[in-house]
Structure formats: C-alpha cells, structure tokens
C-alpha cells in the first residue's frame, strides 16, 4: 500500500506525520511511502533526506491524496482535504470526532475510513500509539521552557559571591502526562516544585518526579481509574476547597503551570483573577489548557498576556508544534506503530480489523458508517487504585488517652507480676529454711541488677559482653576451691578438674575480651 504524508495546511503547524526514520520502518512492513514536497521542512526534514530514505516526493497535495491508499496527517483534514477523501482511502490523524461532527459526516459521505489518533484507547498494549501522551509530554516540557523564557530569575537556588538566589517555586496543576513532564523538567532545572491533582492516587507519581503533592483532605476524592485515567468534573464543595488551597499558594509561587483538562468538556477555571492579582510581579502562568478555554481567567488562546500587576500569562496552544522536530519524531513513531498493527502480516496489505480493541476504538468512520463513539474497551484501562490508607493524626486528647491507657495497662501488668512474685516468695518462705531465704534474697536482687545493667549495653558490644559474662561465669571455680581440700579422693579429682577447666574459661574469656575491645577504635 502507498502511505502518503501531505504538508500540514493548518496555520502555524510545523509537525509532519512521516519522518525519514519512520518511513524506513514502514517500508519494512511492505508499504511504499510518499511525502508532499516541503512537508517536513518546518520540522527540519528536507526533501532530500526523505528521498535518501526511499520516500517518493510528490509535488502537489492533490497528487499525493490521489496516489496514496493511506494518508497520515497530524491535524484533522481541512475542508479542501476532506473532499480529496474517497472510498477505500484510510486517513490517520488527530480528528477530535466529538468536536468535529460536520467533518465526520463529510468523511462518512466520502466513504473513507478514518482512524483518529486521539481516540486510541488507554490500555497498555496501545501505549506505543498513544500520540496524545507523546504530545502532552512535549507540551509539559515546553511549558517549563516557555515559563523560564518569561521568568526573570534562575530556577535553581544558588549562593554566589554576588548574593543569594532563592530557588523558583513552581506549582503544577493537573498531573497528567503533561503535568508530570512539567514537574520533572522544572525539578531537574532545580526549582522547588509542588503539584496538585484531583486524583489522590497520582500522589505517588508526583512524588516520584520530585515534586511535593498538595494534599487536599476531602471525603470523596476521585478514583481516576474509573474514567480511564482521566479526571472527571468535581463537586462544588471539592472545587471550593481546591480553590482555597490555590489561593493560599498564589502569593508564594513564582511559576504556575496548569494542565487541567476534563475529556469532552471546556477546561475548568482553577486559577481565578484574584489569584493572579495575589501573585508577585514577574511571575509566570503557563496555561496548557488554553485551547479548551484555559484554566486561568486571564488566558487568551495563542497569546501572551501581561496582567495589571505584571504577571505574564502564556496561552499558547501549539507547544508540540513549537518543538516540531521532536514532536514529529514521536508522532511519526506512534503512527508507524498504528500502521504496524494494521498490517499484521507485514505484507503491505492493510487489514482493518474491527475486532481489535485498539483499532476499533480509534476508528471513527469505516465503510460508509460512523463508528463513533466506540463501545467501551473490553480491557479496563488501569487497575482500580487500591484505597489509600489515610493515617489520621490523633488529636492531643486521643493521644493522651492512649498514653494513659498504655500506662494503666503497664501498671496493671507490673502490679500483677509483683503480686504473683510476692505470693510465690511467701509460699517458698513457708517451706524453705531461713538460710535458704537469705541466699534467695541475694539471688533475686542480683537478677534484678543484672536486668537493669544489661539493657544499657551497646548493641555493638554484645559479643564482648558475652565473652565477659562467660569469663565471669567461671566463678564456678570458687565451688571447686571450696571442695578441693576434701578428704575424699573422688571429690578431690572432680574438684581439680573443675578448677582446671574453670581456669581455662576465666583466663580465656577475659583475654579474648581484652583483645576484642582493644580493636574498637574511633575514626
């Protein structure tokens, strides 16, 4: 099949859907590649490099649309382009079918199959075709770069001979792919990064990227896994709490990057006018949701606005296009993976398998039918998040109560032990002779001292402790000494052996301990 990439017609669009590199891979699948002359110029790929990669360069868009069996694009087709569509042709592009119903009708009428890259379901198998994530990643990175461009200070804190520079404080709202990418970029530039998201389960991801998660203590937090990993609208109470949190942050942060989007809805307004007013002059807001109306009240799509108090609000909508080379490389790879799935036999024949979850999900028109919206995917996108245990900070009263209870329990136990011990002593005293009891007192007291003393012994000295106690237990020699003067031969021999081995024990134990202790030295 012939796969063609026309030059993007939308204004300011610098990306291209085919790169020389992806073309080589496509050829391995048995396809032939076409590109419109000059299509890759804005992204840094000239026609000669395409030719070198074995791509036929076609002079006009019309010719390309006529020759190609599959057209790959970045943006949705323009009106003119829509008319090039014909039966048997497959178009792969960002299509936004929910917003472009008229276009969808046209495509259906023309009989073409359309695969919308923005409709690729979010399942692990389809990650390699997830162009939205690729673009969001770039947008997040670029947002930080744009912010830095408009921000008059360093990101990283420094102490220089010329004075101390505090680190920039960056707040990222919305920790989707773009948000996480922004967090990572800002953190690696040395900024202090905080991040917020309505889905508490992303806190781990946020922290892993090096930002602090602004935790909102609220009862019914969202579980993003229910909605395929995307955020859904929040309740008014939650919203209030959230805004309150932002209001607190506003005077403190230098850079705000908002990325909050809810699929199929206008962007929620999260950074209100009063928050902008509370920010320090020279602060920067980058609104990645500008295309959907913006998260910030002041955002004007595709414009850089400066507020009355000198806060810069960047509302560009073409961040990926501003990094056209990188964006084209990633997008072309996503497209290539999609085509690879469409040509399972690697024989250059497109097999549009509507049974396949990914292809079915992304296809919006097929064989003269509108197939949007797709049925829900068979595989659930993300495993349901495990409910996170929230450790409640005990109030001082509770703490006191538990401490008191512990103390009481301890007292009870100790008193109980003492009572039992006392009773036993009493019993023993009834039957044992007085001389025994005297020794027994000594014994109990010695045990007690032993317990008290040994607890304090440092852990690293446990081996010397054992050696010393071992040497000391050689005190048994005294017993033998007391018996050795006996008149009985057997006793004398037994006692002499005891003296001998106890002496080994005493001398050996002490000397070895000394050897050990002598080795311990401080650095």
């Amino acid at each position: 099949m012939k796969i063609g990439a026309p030059k993007e017609t939308a204004q300011g669009e610098a990306r291209v859907a085919l790169t020389p590199e992806s073309a080589k891979q496509l050829q391995k699948l048995g396809h032939e590649c076409l590109v419109e002359a000059g299509a890759g110029a804005a992204a840094g790929f000239n026609d000669d490099t395409y030719r070198d990669a074995g791509v036929s360069v076609v002079e006009s868009a019309e010719a390309l649309w006529r020759d190609a069996d599959v057209v790959i694009k970045v943006r949705e087709p323009s009106e003119t382009e829509a008319h090039y569509l014909r039966e048997g042709l497959t178009l792969i592009a960002f299509f936004w079918p929910a917003q472009n119903e008229a276009l969808l009708e046209t495509c259906k009428a023309q009989g073409a199959s359309v695969i919308a890259m923005d409709m690729v379901p979010r399942i692990s198998r389809a990650q390699k075709m997830d162009a939205l994530s690729s673009m969001a990643n770039i947008a997040g990175y670029r947002a930080v770069i744009e912010a830095g461009n408009n921000f008059g200070r360093f990101f990283t804190g420094q102490v220089t001979a010329a004075g101390k520079v505090p680190p920039a404080k960056v707040l990222v709202i919305g920790a989707g792919v773009a948000g996480l990418s922004a967090i990572g970029t800002a953190a690696s530039l040395g900024a202090v990064v905080r991040a917020f998201d309505v889905r508490p389960e992303v806190s781990e991801q946020i922290e892993s990227m090096g930002a602090e998660f602004l935790f909102l203590d609220f009862e019914d937090s969202q579980d993003g896994s229910e909605s395929g990993g995307y955020a859904s609208p929040s309740s008014p109470e939650f919203r209030e709490k959230q805004l309150e949190c932002f209001r607190e942050q506003a005077p403190d942060v230098d850079i705000v990057i908002t990325t909050a989007l809810i699929p199929g809805r206008p962007a929620p307004k999260l950074w209100l006018e009063d928050m902008v007013a509370a920010m320090k002059p020279g602060s920067v807001i980058v609104d990645l949701a500008a295309e959907k109306g913006g998260n910030c009240d002041l955002t004007k799509p595709d414009e850089r606005v400066v507020s009355d108090n000198g806060v810069v609000v960047v509302g560009y909508t073409d961040f990926p296009s501003r990094m056209a080379t990188q964006a084209s490389l990633l997008y072309a790879t996503n497209i290539r993976h999609m085509l690879a799935d469409l040509t399972p036999e690697k024989d250059g024949v497109i097999h549009h398998n509507m049974e396949d979850d990914v292809i079915r999900g992304a296809t919006v028109t097929h064989q003269g039918e509108i197939t949007f919206p797709p049925p829900p995917p068979k595989v659930k996108a993300i495993a349901a998040a495990k409910p996170k245990k929230k450790e409640k900070e005990p109030t001082p009263e509770e703490k006191k109560a538990t401490e008191l209870a512990a103390f009481k329990a301890q007292t009870k136990r100790q008193a109980g032990l003492l009572a039992v011990g006392g009773a036993l002593m009493l019993l023993l005293g009834q039957i044992a002779p007085a001389s025994f009891m005297q020794h027994f007192i000594v014994f109990v007291l010695a045990c007690f001292i032993g317990f008290q003393v040994i607890w304090k012994v440092s852990h690293s000295l446990h081996t010397p402790l054992m050696a010393v106690t071992n040497a000391i237990s050689g005190i048994i020699i005294l017993g033998a000494i007391l018996q050795i003067g006996s008149g009985s031969g057997v006793v004398i021999v037994l006692a002499a052996i005891s003296v001998l081995i106890a002496s080994i024990n005493i001398v050996g134990g002490f000397l070895v301990t000394r050897r050990m202790l002598a080795m311990f030295q401080k650095s």
């Binding site: 003067g485 003296v499 202790l517």
Partner: protein, 480 residues
C-alpha cells in the same frame, strides 16, 4: 589463713566489681576499663576464697589453676576473630561441666559427712564445704539436695548444648536442624525421667541417680541444640550463656556462697536479655527458636518473577566511583570468606575520596550477637561508622550504592512484603530502597533459612558472584 570476715569482704568487693564490669560495656571507651573491673573482681574472689578458712589441697589447686590459665591464655591468643562464636560456645561448655562436677562433689561430701556423723556422732575435722554441710539442719539438707539436682540438670544441658553449638559453629557438625525420630517427645520423656530420678534421689536413693540424671540431661542438651538450625545460633549461644550463669547460681545455693549466687544471677539474666533481644530482632518467639524450626507458614510463599542479573567487578567499581554515599551490609558470608580486611581497605579508599561510607548491622547478622561489629573492629573499621539497623534503616532511600556482603535473610524484602513468608514480620534492613544494590554472594543458593530472596530479583539489584574476599580484592584496584 584469712578469716571469714576477709572472705566476705572480698566477696562484696568482687560482686560490685562484676556489676561495674557489665555496666561499663555501655560504650566502647568505657568498655576497655570495664574488662579490668572484671579481671580484678575475679582475681580478688579467687585469691581470698583460696586463702579462706578450711581450704586445703593446694597441691592440687595451684597446678590445676596454672595449667588452666596457661591453656586459656594460649587459646585466647591464638583464636581468629571469625572463630569467636565457637570459642564462646566452647567456653560455656566448661562452665556447664564444672557445674556438674561440683554438684556431684557436693553430694559426695554430703554423704561423707552424714556417714561420719552416723558412725561416731562426734565432729571430726572437715574442710571448708564439708564443715558447712556438717552444721546444716535436715530441712536445709533437703534443700541442698534440690539445689544439687538443679545444678546438675542445668550444668549438663549447658555442657552438651555448648559442645553441639561449638560443633555447628565450627562446621564440625552439620548446621541443619536434625532430630532423632520422636523429636520433642524424646526431650519431654527424658525430662520426665529426670524428674522421677530427682524424686528418687530426694527420697534417699543412691548416688547412681545423680549420674543417670546427668546422663539424661546430657542427652537433652545434645538433642535440643541439634534440632536448632545454624541461623538461630546467636540466640542459642546467648541462651547457653544464660544457662551457664544459672548453673553457677545453683551451685552457689548448694555451697551457700553468695558471691557465686550474685555472679551466676548476673550472668544468667544478662544471657536471658540478650536472647530476648535476639529473638525480637528476628521477630521470633523464644520458645519457637529453642524448640527449633520455623512456625508453619499460612500459605504458599509469593512467587518471585524476574531474574538475577550478574555484574562484574568493573561495573561495581564504576558505580562506586560515581556514588556519594555507600552503605555496606555485612553478614555471615563476610565472616566465612574472611573478607573483613578487604572490606576495610575498600572503606578506607572510598572514604579517602570523600564519600560517605557506613555500615548497617542487623542485630542477628553473623552467628553471635554483635559478631559483625567485632570482625569490623578487628579489621580496623572505626566503630562510629558502624550503625545499627534502627539507626540506618531510614537512610537507605537516600543512598546511592548499597553493598550486601554475604547476608541474605536480614535483607529479604519478603519479610515485609509477603505475609506468607516464613520470615514475615522480621525487621530487615531496607537495602532495596537505595538507588543501586550490589550483592556479593558465592552462588545462587538461598540463605540459612532456606528461602528465596526477592531482593536478588529486583530491578536495582545486581549480583556480584564469587567469594567475597576475592571479589573485593578484584574490586579494590579499580576503585579510585
């Protein structure tokens, strides 16, 4: 000849010195003085007791003492620090055996005195202990018999138990838990029989009862310790230490000697606390350890996925050269390979190039409480960079490189992650939280507990196979 007053005063002085000696082990600097307290205390006790009233038989006493001291000094000077656990276990056995002998002698003396009293009714000249026995009332003599039984039982168990522990630690006896058919029933039977013999003895049966009693106790000591695996030896050694103390205390009761009672009680309680600390460090029940074997797991242990990825010395060296902070976690494998001085050289080199190097020591690393500390001290590793588990466990997450040398179970994440693991709940060193972990290990075998270690399969773990000392020596020249 010194009077009884001198002897008593000496006993008080010795007791105080012993307490000071044990208490002084609270830190390394004081410890050097503490051991002198112990030596002086012992010297005072032995000297004044020997010269006390009624002591004779110096022709036996002095040579035995000198020979014993000579052997002790020779052994203590020759022993390798890695052989310390065996030595301690062997020395315990002497105390146990001495206790048995002294208790036997005590009963022989009792019989002699009673026979003499029955024969002529008149007081003949007895030596120290016999003279004491002669003054005792019948009730006191009964108690003396009970004490003799205790002393023999504890002493005999300590003796064979220590001999087996020595054998296991020295590798002369197989380290695996092994029991005769019948298991603990045999022990229980022997104990019941011992009780029966004790009752017979108290009711006037002959001296043979004490010999059979000792034999039965010897068997219990042997069988009990044979059933305990090598990994539990730290607990066993400190438990035997405790027993040797109790045996001394029991002898003290028999001989009505307070110094023996005090010292025995000190040693006994210290060993008991050490055993308790060890058990706590392994999250095990003391009874469970002593009776041998792990408690039954509730279900199959979690399957481990992934593979062990090996690395060579140059890989480890480059990671070390890039690292700022390094923690070394030694285990029994380091002792076996005698790698402590190679470790020390590595540490010196790393510290010289300005890296933070520390040691993380698990309470039950090695075969003796504090075993690793002693080995590292021998290799001249400064003790202030050698930290305990609780001191260092939170620092792993901010550490670049962790080198695990010959330890296994004490760094097993299954203890925390897998509730079905036999070691579940045992506190472990969280080495896997570090950026990179290198495990120096002889092969792919499991640790002493015989369970698989998921640490070796983690993404940030690399296996550095080979004998620990050879591996480290290969590594040394490559570290800058």
């Amino acid at each position: 000849m010194l009077g009884q007053g001198f002897v008593s005063a000496a006993a008080i002085a010795a007791s105080v010195l012993f307490i000071l000696s044990l208490g002084g082990l609270s830190n390394q600097e004081k410890a050097k003085r503490a051991v002198w307290y112990g030596i002086v205390g012992m010297a005072v006790a032995v000297f004044f007791t020997s010269l006390g009233p009624g002591i004779g038989g110096y022709w036996w006493l002095v040579p035995a003492m000198l020979i014993g001291a000579g052997i002790g000094a020779y052994v203590a000077g020759k022993v390798e620090m890695t052989e310390m656990p065996q030595l301690v276990a062997a020395l315990h056995s002497f105390v146990g055996l001495a206790a048995v002998f002294v208790a036997w002698s005590a009963d022989l003396e009792r019989r002699r005195v009673l026979a003499a009293q029955a024969a002529d009714g008149a007081m003949q000249e007895f030596s120290a202990f016999a003279a004491l026995v002669a003054t005792k009332a019948p009730a006191e003599l009964t108690f003396l018999q009970i004490e003799v039984v205790f002393a023999i039982f504890i002493g005999a168990v300590t003796f064979t138990g220590s001999v087996i522990a020595f054998g296991k630690l020295a590798g002369k006896v197989d380290g695996k838990p092994r029991q005769l058919p019948g298991g603990h029933m045999l022990n229980a039977g022997a104990a019941a029989l011992s009780l029966l013999l004790a009752i017979l003895y108290l009711n006037g049966a002959g001296f043979w009862t004490l010999i059979v009693l000792a034999a039965l106790s010897f068997f219990i000591g042997y069988h009990l310790i044979m059933g305990i695996g090598g990994a539990d030896m730290p607990v066993v050694v400190s438990m035997l230490n405790s027993y040797s103390g109790w045996a001394a205390a029991a002898i003290g009761f028999t001989l009505s000697n307070d110094l023996l009672i005090v010292t025995g009680a000190l040693v006994g309680s210290s060993g008991a606390i050490l055993s308790y600390i060890m058990c706590k460090a392994m999250n095990r029940n003391f009874v469970n350890v002593i009776l041998g074997g792990f408690g039954g797991a509730q279900g199959p242990a979690a399957e481990i996925e992934g593979e062990q990825v090996a690395i060579d010395a140059s890989g480890v060296a480059s990671a070390l050269n890039d690292a700022d902070s390094v923690i070394i976690v030694p285990g029994y494998g380091m002792a076996v390979a005698q790698a402590q001085s190679a470790v020390s050289d590595l540490v010196r080199k790393l510290r010289a190039s300005g890296k933070t190097v520390r040691f993380g020591i698990h309470p039950v690393a090695g075969r003796l409480p504090g075993h690793m500390n002693v080995l590292l001290a021998e290799a001249k590793v400064p003790y202030d960079i050698v930290l305990e588990m609780d001191e260092i466990n939170d620092d792993f997450s901010s550490t670049d490189v962790v080198i695990v040398i010959g330890s296994n179970d004490i760094v097993n994440p299954a203890a925390e992650e897998d509730p079905n693991s036999p070691i579940a709940g045992m506190p472990v060193l969280k080495v896997w939280e570090a950026k990179q972990v290198f495990v120096s290990k002889r092969g792919q075998g499991t640790g002493y507990s015989g369970i698989e270690n998921p640490l070796f399969f983690k993404e940030n773990t690399r296996m550095f196979y080979g004998d620990a000392r050879d591996s480290l020596n290969a590594l040394l020249p490559m570290v800058e």
